[in-house]
């Protein structure tokens, strides 16, 4: 497999009394597309800035290709970044912006002009090369910023929420362009975002951060289907979290008794629940069956319908359980129209034991 390009070794970053990043350990492989995701203030941007050398770790080491980078100033690194604000130089035109990094490396005028134009062409904005930055559209500026970062052919590209200022249609197009570029160039992308759809659509691996800690690292599918803790389960997707007391346990199944009844949850991984402990599990909104009559399945809850939300072919239903908590169900609009549900009407949710995901104690 690929080698580790970047290693975070017990990295801590404090700003005065505030700890932005706490004991972070993880590695980024060569050629990997990694997304760092979390709510605002979780330390994801600080992590990226430490990689660029714009912040120095308070403790621990950041290594790139085995070399300790802690005291290497930003201008001696080859870690170009695409800023959320793009940070294009307004006093230079598109081509001159792209040339900037080459100029700093002392590349010959003719060669750097040629390379800049090549990159602008590659990103399909060659015709705007001599245009003023402020006369370009958001998407065009975005491409200039990308070209400016990639023209020096770095091993790693840092992206700080680069698509957050674009409208939805453009985001999709830029996403596919980014993934295509990353595959073609084979370089490492570190992509910071608060958007789950961006992270899951593009990244090989996703790092979920919460309050300076890494909450989970994994492939998007694993994070989506097998959140390791309550934070990830709540942050990602539309999950229902149910808690209760462990009443019995075997190697394959654990039984949890809570306010809403008794549920069986299939065990995966190395969880070893103890009878009597408080534990919780996750059932994703899209893995739930809906029926108007009481189902045979062991795991079921009787709810009443509160509201629904259409997003095209999929509908999210917001139900209320007997103890007043919310329960979300996602089903196809086509299925729903066959069922004839009424507002505040009675409806049963049910699921198979192996659809539920055990979260562990707490």
């Amino acid at each position: 497999m690929a080698d580790a390009l970047v290693e975070f070794d017990s990295v801590v970053k404090r700003f005065g009394d505030f700890t932005a990043v706490e004991t972070m350990n993880f590695t980024i492989d060569e050629g990997e597309f990694i997304a760092i995701m979390g709510p605002s203030g979780c330390g994801k941007t600080t992590t990226l800035r430490m990689l660029a050398g714009l912040e120095a770790p308070s403790e621990g080491e950041i290594r790139m290709q085995g070399r300790v980078m802690n005291n290497v100033p930003p201008h001696e690194r080859d870690t170009p970044m695409v800023w959320q604000s793009l940070a294009l130089f307004p006093f230079l035109n598109a081509r001159e912006n792209v040339e900037f990094g080459l100029e700093m490396r002392g590349v010959d005028v003719a060669i750097r002009k040629k390379k800049a134009l090549e990159w602008l062409d590659r990103l399909e904005i060659g015709e705007f090369a001599e245009r003023d930055i402020n006369s370009l559209s958001g998407g065009q500026k975005q491409r200039v910023a990308l070209a400016r970062s990639l023209v020096t052919e770095p091993k790693i590209l840092l992206l700080d929420e680069p698509l957050s200022a674009l409208d939805a249609n453009l985001v999709i197009r830029m996403q596919s362009m980014l993934t295509r570029l990353q595959r073609e160039l084979g370089i490492t992308f570190v992509y910071v975002t608060h958007s789950q759809s961006e992270a899951f659509a593009m990244a090989d691996r996703v790092v979920i951060m919460s309050r300076g800690h890494i909450a989970q690292i994994g492939m998007p599918k694993d994070i989506y289907r097998a959140p390791e803790n309550r934070f990830v389960a709540e942050f990602v997707g539309r999950n229902n979290i149910i808690s209760g007391t462990v009443t019995s346990t075997s190697s394959k199944v654990v039984t949890i008794d809570g306010n809403l009844g008794q549920f069986e949850v299939a065990l995966a991984g190395d969880h070893q629940p103890i009878v009597g402990d408080v534990a919780s599990f996750v059932i994703a909104a899209d893995l739930v069956h809906l029926s108007t009559t009481k189902p045979k399945a062991t795991n079921n809850i009787e709810c009443s319908l509160i509201s629904e939300e259409f997003i095209g072919s999929v509908v999210t239903l917001f139900l209320e359980t007997p103890d007043g908590s919310e329960f979300k169900v996602q089903i196809q609009e086509r299925e729903l129209s066959d069922m004839d549900l009424k507002h505040m009407g009675r409806v049963f949710v049910s699921w198979e034991s192996d659809r539920a995901h055990f979260l562990g104690a707490g």
Binding site: A52, G53, L54, P73, P74, H75, E76, D78, T79, P80, M81, W83, S85, A87, L88, F89, P90, F91, N93, F100, G101, M104, R105, R131, D132, S135, R148, S149, T152
Partner: protein
């Protein structure tokens, strides 16, 4: 009377809003009035009078209305006028260069290296010199620059000097700097503080060394503010009478001193007006040129 209300209402409300618009237009006109009156009474009218005066003649020590080119031809043909003009432009340009360079490290530190609170205090301290009369500040330089003054005393300890600093061009420049340095630091600080820090970081990120970043990114971003600061510095120095007179020893005279001398010698107000008009035109050219350069946009 069964007049339907609906159709009647629309035109009346339309005319009402039109009247309202007229009213607010009138209000804005009234707001503009004081500045228009002030400018025409105390700036445009005197300016016209000054230009007109430069064509008057003096008979028996009395100014007489006329329209003759005599004053202009006389002043323009005199070497001392052109020497003085060159000297004034030279000194003001040198002062501007020195002030812009000396101010920069201070402004850079205040804009980038200190907290916002410290910056506020520093700007307050930079305003304090303006609380005392400029003349008093110039006279206080006597103590420092004189042949037996503070600097020469200190240099004497290490066996240097004494150097003559009063009544020299050096003295004039020191005076100009006293007048303009605090203002230029303030203007530079503001324009540097407004720079988007992310652009500076982006430059570092792309491999630009800190020194090069200042030249390649910081200065271009601060261009407008810096040109305005330089223009201010030049205008204030160019028109200053006090420094070249008291610290520069008035010889050779700068244009403001030439004006005073011309008036004193034989009530030559019209010739003094010629000098004043030349100064005004020069400053207009510098100011417009500077502002045009400051706001020049790149061709798309």
């Amino acid at each position: 009377m069964s007049v339907s209300k609906q159709p009647a209402k629309t035109p009346s409300s339309d005319s009402k809003s039109a009247r309202q618009r007229q009213k607010s237009d009138l209000f804005q006109q009234v707001l503009r009035l004081p500045i228009v009156i002030w400018q025409s009474l105390f700036f445009i009218a005197p300016l016209f009078f000054l230009v007109a005066m430069s064509f008057f003649i003096v008979r028996n020590y009395r100014m007489t209305e006329a329209f003759e080119m005599k004053n202009w031809l006389k002043m323009m043909s005199r070497d001392y006028f052109w020497d003085s003009y060159g000297l004034t432009i030279g000194l003001a340009t040198l002062a501007t260069l020195v002030v812009m360079i000396v101010a920069f490290p201070a402004a850079y530190t205040l804009a980038f290296r200190v907290s916002e609170n410290t910056r506020r205090w520093a700007i307050f301290l930079l305003i304090i010199p303006f609380f005392t009369s400029y003349l008093v500040r110039i006279f206080s330089w006597y103590v420092i620059l004189a042949e037996s003054g503070v600097i020469n005393a200190m240099l004497g300890y290490i066996g240097l000097g004494p150097y003559i600093m009063l009544n020299t061009k050096f003295g004039t420049i020191v005076g100009y700097m006293t007048l303009t340095l605090p203002l230029v630091i303030i203007l530079q600080t503001f324009s540097l503080a407004n720079i988007d820090r992310r652009l500076v970081e982006a430059a570092y990120n792309l491999g630009c060394r800190p020194w090069r970043t200042i030249i390649r990114v910081v200065l271009p971003l601060a261009k407008t503010g810096f040109i305005i600061a330089a223009v201010f510095c030049f205008i204030l120095s160019f028109g200053d009478f006090v420094s070249p007179y008291y610290l520069g020893g008035s010889k050779p005279p700068t244009l403001p001193i030439l004006i005073v001398d011309t008036v004193k010698s034989g009530q030559q107000w019209p010739r003094a007006a010629v000098v004043a008009v030349v100064m005004m035109v020069t400053l207009f050219i510098v100011a417009f040129g500077g502002i045009a350069a400051a706001y020049r946009r790149r061709n798309a």
